[in-house]
């Protein structure tokens, strides 16, 4: 055990070697500088560019999704609005039709009533006129009848009496 320790120490496992330190430093710095120029620059910039590209495409996809969702929402809203609108229009049309029908019915009824009244009035008038004509006719007929009766029943004596009475009347009235 002891000898192995001596071997380790005397063997120079930990002995400093300025030449090796110098060469390590020189080699490492040269490798670092060359690789920085030759490899790390392009590789890292390419990686970063790709990362950015991926990030931007993800962002773009997200924004496109949002946009599509917004459009869908808008479309749905529009559709709902259009539905409401059409319903309203139909209802209004129905209402209007109903109103129109009612109005027309009322108007027709009123017209009919008016016509009926007019007709009634006319009928009444005609009736009256007819009655007048009838009355005149009847009067004429009566007069003709009376004339005939009178003509047939009248004789000289009575006539004389009548005239006498009339003269007497007149005379009395003059007094």
């Amino acid at each position: 055990m002891l000898t192995s320790g001596i071997i380790l120490l005397s063997g120079g496992l930990l002995s400093p070697n300025p030449g090796l330190i110098f060469w390590t430093a020189v080699t490492f710095v040269i490798v670092l500088l060359i690789l920085k120029q030759l490899a790390w620059g392009p590789i890292i910039s390419a990686l970063e560019e790709r990362e950015k590209g991926i990030q931007s495409s993800i962002d773009r996809a997200h924004s496109a999704k949002d946009e599509a969702e917004a459009i869908l929402r808008k479309n749905r809203e529009l559709l709902a609005k259009a539905d409401l609108e059409s319903e309203r229009i139909i209802r209004e049309g129905k209402d209007y039709g109903e109103k129109l029908r009612q109005e027309m019915t009322e108007k027709a009824q009123a017209e009919a009533k008016k016509m009926i009244t007019l007709a009634k009035e006319e009928i009444e008038q005609e009736k009256r006129r007819a009655l007048d004509v009838l009355r005149n006719e009847v009067a004429d007929l009566a007069i003709m009848g009376v004339e005939k009766i009178i003509k047939s029943s009248l004789d000289a004596d009575t006539q004389k009496k009548i005239v006498d009475s009339m003269i007497q009347d007149l005379a009395s009235k003059r007094n």
Binding site: S4, I7, G11, G19, I21, T24, W40, P42, I43, I44
Partner: protein
């Protein structure tokens, strides 16, 4: 379930790691006495098995020349840095020694391995980077670029972004480089003839010092000098500062120290365990042990090492990101300021 298994296997490893050096030491004196001249030759040549140098001695031992060394020395030779790159049966490559101004900056085995992993990282990410340069955001990545993208994206999001928070982009190149550099160094250590550069304390120390400087710079930038100094008092009463300030300053240095030791020890330990397991069969001179213990267990440890190679690269990066995140966190800063204003 998996963490439990890992924990159990780690506990098992600990037991093994305790037993193996003991076994080695039991036998060491037996080997040591007849081999004194050989060991002397080996020390000067610093060759692992030393067939060529020890040929005159090897005659006596015949075919057993390979394990005539002290196992501990062989293991240490494998773990440690050296100026010789040995390709065991084919020969070896002597690496150039460079000394400038009294400093020995010679190219060693670990430097070569480091350069190799740096070259592989550069090659892979050069091609991946160019394919990304050609790519528009519309194309998907394919092949190598796609495979690397998963790792880069993991470091970017799960390590950097989640630990540092806003402004993580500034530290991303460092974290990515440190991850792939350490990963490649770890993995190349598992390749035959390879050596683990990250199993050398000097390498991990340098990397941890980078993290330390980046952390402190980020902290200074985020809070200013006043806020940075206020951090050192931890928002306590001034009478406690004499205790708190040293503790906080020690705390600054323990973080990179922990990073250094964690990576170095993990990478070294695995290799030591594998080699020790193999040496059990040589020490006991038994084929049964080799078949029943050494080979299966070392395969198991090897697989564990592959996992550890990734894990340690990840942990180093993760902790670096965590330290940077802690240093730049704004909530703590405001708390401290309020505390300072209160006193």
């Amino acid at each position: 379930m998996k963490p439990v298994i890992v924990k159990q296997s780690k506990a098992f490893l600990k037991v093994l790691a305790l037993c193996v050096p003991l076994l080695m030491n039991v036998d060491a004196p037996l080997f040591a006495s007849p081999e004194q001249p050989v060991a002397a030759v080996h020390d000067s040549a610093a060759v692992m098995a030393g067939e060529a140098a020890a040929s005159h001695e090897a005659e006596a031992h015949g075919a057993e020349a390979g394990h005539s060394d002290k196992p501990g020395e062989v293991i240490m030779h494998h773990i440690l840095d050296s100026n010789v790159f040995a390709f065991e049966p084919f020969g070896e490559v002597h690496l150039p020694k460079i000394v400038i101004g009294g400093f020995d900056i010679s190219i060693t085995k670990h430097v070569v391995m480091m350069w190799l992993s740096a070259a592989i990282v550069l090659l892979v990410f050069g091609s991946v980077g160019s394919s990304y340069r050609k790519m528009t955001p519309k194309n998907a990545p394919k092949g190598l670029a796609n495979a690397m993208e998963a790792l880069v994206e993991f470091i970017r999001l799960d390590v950097a972004k989640s630990n540092i928070g806003p402004g993580y982009e500034k530290h991303l190149p460092y974290l990515l480089t440190v991850f792939f550099f350490i990963l490649l160094c770890n993995v190349l250590g598992l390749v035959p003839y390879g050596a683990t550069a990250t199993g050398n304390v000097n390498v991990t120390l340098t990397l941890a010092v980078f993290t330390f400087f980046i952390t402190q710079t980020a902290s200074l930038k985020a809070h200013g000098i006043k806020g940075y100094l206020a951090h050192l008092t931890a928002g306590t009463h001034w009478s406690l500062w004499i205790i708190m300030i040293p503790i906080e300053i020690i705390g600054l240095f323990t973080k990179p120290f922990a990073l250094t030791v964690r990576l170095f020890a993990n990478m070294t330990a695995g290799h030591i365990v594998i080699l020790s397991l193999i040496f059990i069969s040589f020490i006991l001179k038994s084929y049964i042990v080799a078949v029943a213990v050494s080979v299966p267990f070392s395969i198991f440890i090897y697989l564990l090492e592959i996992f550890v190679a990734f894990l340690q690269a990840f942990i180093f990066t993760m902790l670096s990101a965590l330290f940077i995140g802690l240093a730049t966190a704004h909530e703590g800063h405001e708390e401290h300021e309020a505390g300072v204003a209160h006193h």
